[in-house]
Amino acid sequence: MDILWPLFYIAVYPGMFFLIAYGLFCQWFDRKLYAHMQNRRGPGCLQPLADLVKLLSKEIVIPKNVTEVRMFKILPYIAIAAVTTAALMIPFESTQSVVNFQGDLIAVLYILTIPTITFFLIGWSSQSPYSAIGSMRVLTQLFAYEVPLMLAMLAPAILADSWNTSDIALFYSSHPLLMLVNVIGLGVSLVALQGKLERVPFDIPHAETEIVGGVFTEYSGRLYGFIKLAIDMEMVVVAALINAVFLGGSFGLSGVWGFVLFIVKTLCIVFILALIKALMARVRIEQMLAFCWKYLAPLSILQIIISIIMRSVVWPNL
């Protein structure tokens, strides 16, 4: 039986199956909220599933120019695999994540850059001008949002004096008021996440009115379906990460109530992400760089300084 549990973790919960199901739900929730904010009706709740099934049943067209066909075919799966791996290191409904070690916060952040890198490679191997420009934008954007995101995520860890996501969550559930210290960091990471998830105002790599489908221009059928799926799953994972690092995870609960709390909190995060998406226009890539380095990075450094002062001066023996 002991051998079957890891399989269950990877394949069902909190791995593939749950991520796919909840990812599609979050996509629907995001689209519905976005639609209502724009005074539209929005899609029905099975629409994301219908889209996925449709894409899975479509023919795959591989352009003649693709440099490495095997790589072109395998990259979407790598993105999904990376997202699922990251999910295993974040506490979802319980206080402990499945894979749990000192420093898993850093590991999660690094593993979550893998989808971005695969998107770059996807565009680069497609050999179309739109995807080439898209890939350049993916990388440029990565350098802009990754540093503030990383720094902002480190601040709660410094205050909690642990690099373990589960420990950080536990720390804030026992000291809920200390979450207020990290408000700046929370704001910075929510904005930076729009860059990571490539959403308005930072949907520059696949800005449809400029470069059509961006990096994904040449993808079709099943492969494109999996790319879309990877992005949805990534949204769940980063929402869970924010929940664990900034918002105290499941507040020491586990089981059904922990699960309900997890769903409610992640949906709140999705709501904020949808709100940011609805409020702004897409910026240009150089404006995005300037914004990230001029405002987000100093703010996250400020957050780290606050956390260090809090930890070492105000409450040295928490």
């Binding site: 909220l33 209502h36 904010m37 005074n39 539209r40 009706r41 929005g42 709100l275 609805a278 409020l279």
Partner: protein, 139 residues
Amino acid sequence: MAKPLKAFGEVLKNLFKKPATSQYPVKKHTPAQHYRARIKFTPEECIGCGICMRNCPAAAIKITQINPQDKPQTLPDGKVIPAKRKFKCVIDLSKCIYCAQCVEGCPKKALKSTDEFELAAFDKNKLQDEFKHPDETQK
């Protein structure tokens, strides 16, 4: 001058508002007073002046006489019944641009605009809107 998150209030207000989307196939749109859609032809009224055919921008309307041999009749008591020409009309809905110039030009109001706007069909032959004269159908 720049105020970040300017649309915030409006977005939140709309979040709780009823969507503006019209539920078209479920709830039908009520066309305005002068709506121009499918043209209806009343064969009894037509005098065959051909103004509609001459002015139709799309050449979509075709009115033909169905009783070419009809002549004025003299009854035994000396009364003359004038020749009543009868017409039928075919309107090609795939050509019609719904400007309703024919309706406007018709001196006898034999042509009328209706509200019927759902005219799509899978078969092009179904778009031939034929208005037969009642006498013709009796034969």
